[in-house]
C-alpha cells in the first residue's frame, strides 16, 4: 500500500478569498445603483409620455375617480363656500394664463383635515380644516394657486404615469428572489419617485408666488400655511429626502426671499376671508 497516501491539503483552496462584508457591499451597492438608474430612466420616460396625454383624455379618466371626490354639498352654507372657492380658483387661473381647455373644478369638503389637493382632470379639493388655519384670502389663494400650478404643469397625470411604470417594473422584478430581497428592491425603487415630486412641488410654489403677485400685487401671507404647519410640527419632521413636500422651513425661507425681491410696498395689506368661510 506504499503507493497510496493522504497528503496534507492546504487551507483555503476551496473558498474564494474575499471578505463576506466586501462581497456584500459590492453586491448591494452595484445592484442598488443599477435599479435606481433603471427606475429613474423608466419613470422619466413615462412622465414625458404622460405629459402628452390630452387634457380631454385626462378628464375622461378622472370621471372614474369622481365617486372618490367629495360630493356637491347639500347645506346652503357649504355651497356658498364652494362657490367662493370656485370663483377664487377662476380668478387665479386667469392670472396664471391657464390654457382654455384646462377647466378647474373645485370641491369643498367640510372635513377638518388640514389639506388641499389637486388630482387628475383639474379637480381641486379644499378642506375646511385648511381654511380655518388661514388668516386671510391671500393665504388661501397661495395654497390654491399652488394646486392650480400642479394641474397647469400636468403633475397629476405625470405622477400617475410614473407611478404605474415604476409599479409595473418593480412588480415584475419582484418575481426574482425571496421575500427579504423583494422588499429591499421595492424600497430602493421608490426613492426617485419621491424626490421627483419634490422638484414638482418647488415648481408649483414658484408659480403660485407669481400668481399671487399678479392677483394681489404683493405676496403677503403667502407663507402663512407653512408657518402654521411648522408651529404644529415642532418635533418629528421626516428627513427631507424621504418626504414629498420640501421641508416647511425651506419653503418659508424661499417665500420670504421672493417677497423681499418683490418688495414694492412698505406694508402689504391682506384681503380678509369672508365671514361665511370660517366654520362655526
Amino acid at each position: 500500500m506504499a503507493e497510496y497516501e493522504n497528503p496534507q491539503i492546504p487551507e483555503g483552496i476551496n473558498v474564494s478569498p474575499t471578505h463576506p462584508l466586501k462581497d456584500f457591499a459590492l453586491l448591494v451597492g452595484g445592484i442598488s445603483a443599477l435599479i435606481l438608474v433603471a427606475v429613474l430612466a423608466l419613470s422619466l420616460l413615462a412622465g414625458q409620455l404622460a405629459r402628452h396625454v390630452p387634457f380631454e383624455q385626462e378628464r375622461a379618466l378622472a370621471g372614474s375617480l369622481s365617486r372618490w371626490l367629495p360630493e356637491t354639498p347639500a347645506q346652503p352654507a357649504h355651497r356658498e363656500r364652494q362657490q367662493y372657492l370656485q370663483q377664487l380658483a377662476d380668478r387665479l387661473a386667469t392670472a396664471m394664463d391657464l390654457p382654455p381647455e384646462m377647466t378647474l373644478t373645485v370641491h369643498y369638503s367640510a372635513s377638518n383635515t388640514v389639506n388641499a389637493l389637486a388630482t387628475l382632470g383639474g379637480h381641486i379639493v379644499v378642506f375646511q380644516g385648511l381654511i380655518d388655519t388661514l388668516p386671510s384670502e391671500n393665504a388661501l389663494a397661495m395654497v390654491m394657486a399652488h394646486e392650480i400650478a400642479h394641474i397647469r404643469h400636468r403633475h397629476p397625470i405625470v405622477a400617475m404615469g410614473r407611478g404605474f411604470a415604476v409599479m409595473f417594473a418593480l412588480s415584475s422584478l419582484a418575481g426574482i428572489g425571496d421575500g427579504a430581497m423583494q422588499q429591499w428592491l421595492t424600497g430602493v425603487g421608490m426613492l426617485p419617485i419621491l424626490s421627483f415630486s419634490r422638484s414638482q412641488e418647488e415648481q408649483a410654489d414658484a408659480d403660485a408666488l407669481q400668481a399671487m403677485l399678479r392677483t394681489y400685487s404683493h405676496v403677503g401671507d403667502a407663507a402663512a400655511f407653512f408657518e402654521h404647519i411648522a408651529r404644529q410640527q415642532t418635533t418629528g419632521e421626516p428627513l427631507a429626502i424621504f418626504s414629498t413636500h420640501p421641508g416647511h422651513e425651506e419653503r418659508i425661507e424661499r417665500i420670504r426671499q421672493f417677497a423681499q425681491s418683490q418688495a414694492t410696498q412698505a406694508a402689504p395689506t391682506s384681503v380678509p376671508l369672508p365671514d361665511f368661510m370660517k366654520s362655526e
Binding site: E11, V28, D178
Partner: protein
Amino acid sequence: MYDLILFLVLLLLGYVFGQRAEKRHFKSIIEREQTLRDILVFSERRIPDEDQLEGILVSGNVVISVDFFKRFVASLRNLVGGRVSSYESLLERARREAILRMKDAARRKGATAVWNLRLETASIYKGAQNAVGAVEVVAYGTAVRQRR
C-alpha cells in the same frame, strides 16, 4: 420602516452568529483532522490486497444551516452571476465534517483506511420560499481492517 429595521437586525444577527459559528467550526475541523490523520481515505474503488482484509460500510453525515446573511448575499449573487463565496465556505465545512464523522466511525470499527469514498449533497427546504435553507452532506465508503 419597521420591516426594514427588522430586516437589518436579521442581517446583522445572521452575520455575527454565522461568522462566529463558521470560525469555531473550522477551528474544530482542523484540530480533529490532525487527530484522525492516521485513518487514510481514498476514492479508489479497487481495494489492494483485499483478500487479506475485511470491509465494513461506514458513513458520516452532517446538516448545516445557511444563515440569513449568507442567504441574502447569495440571492444577490444570483442576479449577476459569479462565484457564490458565501456558499463555498458553507459546503467546504459540510464536506470536511462529514468525512471526519465517517473517519470517526471507521476508527471505532478498528479500521485503518476507508476506500471507495463517496460524497453526496442534498439541499433541505429546497424550493420552499422564505425558509432558511440547510445543506446536508453524506460521506460513505468501505472501511477496511485486517482479517482476524
